[in-house]
């Protein structure tokens, strides 16, 4: 099973990378851009039999390790 965790900067936290990409796109004549955010994606390949409570375990590692709740939000999904 493949889990895709997405970690993005929180709305009110400065996102220098997003700003840089936005400027770069604008200077390359990419019109209509309203905002850019840069985050991380972590793909986990795990053995099929996740066992009971595996969803909470994913949540826990997202909170504890994969994201920093002070500055980041996360979401995850099972890949198709």
């Amino acid at each position: 099973m493949k889990i895709i965790v997405t970690v993005t900067p929180k709305k009110n936290v400065l996102d220098p990378q997003g700003a840089a990409v936005q400027h770069a796109l604008e200077s390359q004549d990419f019109p209509g851009l309203k905002a850019v955010h840069v985050g991380k994606i972590i793909e986990l390949e795990i053995d099929e039999q996740g066992g009971a409570g595996w969803e909470e375990r994913i949540d826990r590692i997202c909170r504890d390790l994969l994201s920093n709740p002070v500055i980041e939000d996360y979401r995850w999904e099972k890949a198709s």
Binding site: N12, V13, L14, P16, K40, L65, N68, V70, I71
Partner: protein
């Protein structure tokens, strides 16, 4: 008095910190391997700079789970003195021993230069030895941009927890004082009690005759003094 310098895989300022305490200041000091589980007998624990675990996920994120970190939490919880420098500051924030977080420098580049710092806290232990002068201390980091929410910042200010701020450079040089875009020019903070400290600049690189300054000495000496008063 005994100083311990933590050593994670990828730490690279561990030897410099050890040298500053053991050789320059002549205080007994030793390295503490990240797999050690006790910090007993230490009066001051330094979490040094470097790239723990390559800083591959987020700076300090993985180091936080090292066995020694459990011991560090207990140690800090009991009022022990802890100093995190650069990557060490990042680790302390990740571990929740200090509030806030450090993100990419706003210029998106690593910055190594000597900055001017002012002592921002009114804390007596620091005021007396450091005074008002700007201190010249080297920085070297890619992620030193301190961030915290409004309430958190207000709390830091209310509790006098902002220890150091970046100050302006001399007018002759066209260079901004704040090297990373840090919120409110914050360069270093402490917990309420003043026992856990984190700063991005490297005081251990400002202790010898040929360093950019020797302004790191009073910082390290103040730490030792605070550790002694425990």
């Amino acid at each position: 008095m005994k100083v311990g310098v933590l050593q994670f895989p990828g730490s690279n300022c561990d030897q410099d910190s050890l040298h500053a305490f053991a050789t320059v200041l002549g205080v007994p000091a030793r390295l503490v391997w990240h797999k050690e589980e006790s910090l007993e007998g230490l009066d001051l624990v330094v979490v040094p700079g470097g790239f723990s675990y390559g800083d591959y996920l987020r700076c300090g994120a993985i180091a936080r789970f090292s066995p020694v970190m459990k011991a560090l939490k207990a140690y800090a919880g009991a009022g022990g003195m802890v100093m995190g420098i650069c990557n060490g500051f990042q680790i302390l924030c990740e571990a929740g021993l200090l509030p806030g977080a450090l993100i990419r420098n706003d210029c998106l580049e690593f910055r190594c230069e000597t900055v001017n710092l002012t002592l921002a806290a009114r804390r007596e232990a620091w005021q007396a030895p450091l005074g008002a002068n700007p201190l010249r201390i080297p920085v070297a980091h890619g992620e030193g941009n301190y961030r915290i929410d409004h309430a958190g910042l207000a709390e830091l200010e209310a509790n006098d927890q902002i220890l150091f701020r970046y100050a302006d450079r001399p007018a002759a040089i066209e260079r901004r004082g704040n090297p990373n875009g840090s919120l409110s020019d914050i360069a270093g903070i402490c917990n309420r009690e003043g026992t856990v400290i984190g700063m991005m600049p490297h005081p251990e690189r400002a202790v010898e005759s040929f360093h950019p300054s020797r302004d790191g000495l009073p910082i390290l000496q103040t730490l030792l003094k605070l550790a002694g008063h425990r």
